[in-house]
């Protein structure tokens, strides 16, 4: 009986401590709700961002050459270059937030970042959860093949030939749906797909065009016979659903940056090392208007 009493007292004490702790934790929530006051929205408006002097932008920290961290701990890349310009034009400091492909939407839904610039491909499913601004880059599939036997079209596919794809990529889905007669050779990793092509086990390799372009430029004897295949998707900045002030500001920004050919400059600064100058028009969207 006595022992039971001790444990009950401790239980009560612990409950009290936890209770106090949770009170302490809920204190700041009271503050923030009174701060945001009238609005219940998770996001910050453009004026709130300007007033705070800081903008939180979610980027990739490990997707070279779009968003990565260099050996001096500095964020770099095509997306980051644009993010820095946004900060400059708003007159605020940019806080880069390292995001993963899997949690980009969640960051916007909870307002933990103001803008996502993490190579975000515009899709109808995603557009239901976030708002996309005007696009600033194209992305589609590409096919790389040996220079000695280049593949420039998929229409007269030789029935004996096989095509390399990486499992789970859009290339696999696209080919299965649109070219069911092409035999696919599936690999799990980039490295395996690469060595398969180099060992000549297949006629060509289909993947994101940025990937195959980068591959053909770094490996002699291979050429991208089909630089863009299938539906052209675009990459655009995204903001929290309903955050119109930031969305409008971004759209105006992208349009006006078009006048100074900003994204061409961005490409030349960040992507030429990887993709060369030949694909500039293929990849860049200027002023938010994709080329036909």
């Amino acid at each position: 009986m006595k022992r039971l009493k001790v444990t009950t007292i401790i239980a009560l004490a612990l409950a009290a401590v936890l209770g106090l702790a949770s009170c302490g934790a809920s204190q700041p929530s009271g503050d923030t709700s009174s701060e945001t006051g009238k609005t219940t929205a998770v996001y910050r408006t453009i004026d709130e961002i300007k007033d705070s002097g800081e903008i939180n932008i979610g980027v990739f920290s490990d997707k070279h050459p779009f968003g990565y961290v260099d050996e001096n701990s500095e964020y770099q890349g095509y997306d980051v270059y644009f993010a820095r310009r946004i900060g400059e034009d708003l007159g605020v400091k940019v806080n880069f937030v390292s995001t993963e492909a899997a949690n980009r939407t969640e960051y916007l839904k909870t307002g933990k970042v103001d803008i996502i610039l993490a190579n975000f491909t515009v899709t109808p499913e995603r557009a239901e959860e976030v708002d996309f601004a005007l696009p600033y880059m194209n992305v589609s599939l590409g096919v790389v093949s040996p220079e000695s036997k280049p593949i420039t079209s998929l229409d007269e596919w030789n029935a004996d030939d096989e095509m390399i794809v990486i499992s789970g990529t859009t290339a696999e889905t696209y080919l299965t749906q649109n070219y069911p007669n092409i035999k696919l050779q599936k690999y799990d990793t980039y490295a395996n797909a690469k060595s398969a092509l180099e060992n000549g086990t297949a006629a060509a390799w289909a993947n994101d065009n940025t990937e195959v372009i980068a591959y053909s430029l770094s490996t002699t004897g291979y050429t991208v016979g089909i630089p863009s295949l299938g539906s052209k998707d675009t990459i655009a900045p995204a903001v929290s659903k309903g955050n119109e002030t930031v969305l409008n500001w971004l759209n105006d920004e992208i349009t006006s940056l078009g006048e100074e050919e900003f994204f061409h400059k961005d490409y030349e600064e960040t992507l030429t090392d990887t993709y060369g100058l030949d694909y500039e028009e293929e990849l860049v969207i200027e002023g938010g208007v994709p080329a036909e």
């Binding site: 022992r3 039971l4 001790v6 444990t7 009950t8 612990l14 050996e71 960051y107 490295a191």
Partner: protein, 224 residues
């Protein structure tokens, strides 16, 4: 000697960045350990209670934490706290909260196990010596429990350090994330870097966890 791409580690501040990432991981686990050990001891004592309500509540808490993958807990605390409660907490704080809640549950169970392993006659002898229940705990039960506990709780610490590899999912840049950043930034210039860099990360985890685990072994021998 095969090319492991180890040269990327000596580019710029890369090695320092890796060590900085390791410090983030170690810091978060040590803070969590420091909080969860006292809380876990209290919880463990509570868990030995015969009161069915207290028993049920602590049991549910323990099982819930054990069944939930840590990654889910991290997402719930980091994103859920904002969407449900409107509190915006940093990734580091969210990690400390999750690791503390997890550590407290695990530690509580270890303490409960250690406590019930103390033979009943220890309690009875203390009562015979007219010790109050509080004194029984302080002078008789706790010293014996601690001996059985230390090796087990040290293992919990190493588990926590290793589990910090998940916090990169909520935006905390720790050692593994830095490794991925280094590998990706050099994907074109040194495609083999993945092996060398991950090997280095393995070594770093080992350097941190091995002495801790050795200490556990020594204490176990000494007191076992």
């Amino acid at each position: 000697m095969p090319d492991l791409g180890l040269d990327v580690l000596f580019k710029g501040k890369n090695m320092l960045r890796l060590l900085g990432g390791l410090w983030v991981a170690v810091k978060i686990s040590l803070i969590s350990v420091a909080i969860s050990i006292p809380l876990g001891i209290l919880l463990g004592i509570i868990m030995t209670s015969k009161n069915p309500i207290i028993k049920a509540v602590t049991r549910v808490y323990l099982e819930f934490i054990r069944i939930m993958p840590q990654l889910v807990l991290l997402f719930i605390v980091f994103f859920g706290s904002t969407s449900a409660l409107g509190i915006n907490i940093s990734g580091e704080l969210a990690s400390v909260i999750v690791f503390t809640v997890w550590g407290t549950a695990e530690m509580g169970d270890l303490v409960r196990g250690a406590l019930i392993s103390i033979p009943k006659h220890q309690y009875e002898s203390s009562a015979a010596l007219a010790l109050t229940p509080a004194k029984t705990y302080i002078y008789v039960i706790i010293p014996q429990t601690v001996r059985r506990l230390i090796p087990l709780s040290i293992n919990l610490i190493t588990r926590m350090i290793k589990t910090t590899s998940l916090i990169l999912m909520i935006g905390v840049v720790e050692v593994l994330k830095v490794a991925q950043q280094i590998i990706e930034a050099n994907r074109m210039s040194s495609p083999n870097a993945a092996f060398g860099v991950y090997l280095t990360v393995l070594l770093l985890y080992f350097i941190i966890c091995w002495p801790i685990s050795m200490l556990a072994k020594r204490l176990e021998k000494k007191w076992g």
